[in-house]
Symmetry: C2
Subunit: 100 residues, 2 copies
């Protein structure tokens, strides 16, 4: 496993399909993709992972899902706020790995 062949897709406010396409491209080149999202974008990250693995790149699979908290973001009232995060790792299936 080469860690260099990993792409990170940050999920934000754009439409889900934008991120689906951004994820499909590196996967089709055999790279692993890590989707990262915080706060309300977490639901969208899950949607992206599901659409990609079920409809677009069927020889890719969800390898791991982890959740966490990011601290130290300061809210409008000046107090530090925590925000939940998610990381979803999608990789080409081992069985379908081909030499090109």
């Amino acid at each position: 496993m080469s860690e260099a062949s990993e792409a990170v897709v940050l999920i934000g406010r754009k439409p889900t399909m934008n991120y689906v396409l951004a994820t499909t491209m590196p996967l089709s080149e055999g790279k692993t993709v890590v989707l990262k999202a915080r706060g309300r974008a977490i639901s969208k990250a899950v949607d992206v992972a599901q659409v990609v693995t079920r409809r677009f790149v069927q020889d890719a699979e969800i390898q791991s899902v982890s959740i966490g908290t990011e601290e130290g973001r300061v809210g409008q009232d000046g107090r530090p706020r925590s925000v939940s995060t998610i990381e979803i790792r999608i990789a080409p299936k081992k069985s379908s790995a081909k030499k090109k």
Copy 2:
């Protein structure tokens, strides 16, 4: 591990703290809790898991996170819709398990 001592908390539209309390109670009795959410409630499920394990029940930990798709829900236009799902399993830490 007894599968019977497992509580399921369905995350919906209520305030996050309602679900935090619903999760804290079975955990403090030594049970495993499975948080389940769909669609936009997914972000809230992650928030609940983070608040519970970081602030309320520090001798509990997130054991697994899995995501999926639920099919066959029919939208307003009569066509079937898929919705993303998440399941977060929170369990008392092994090291802190005590006989009571």
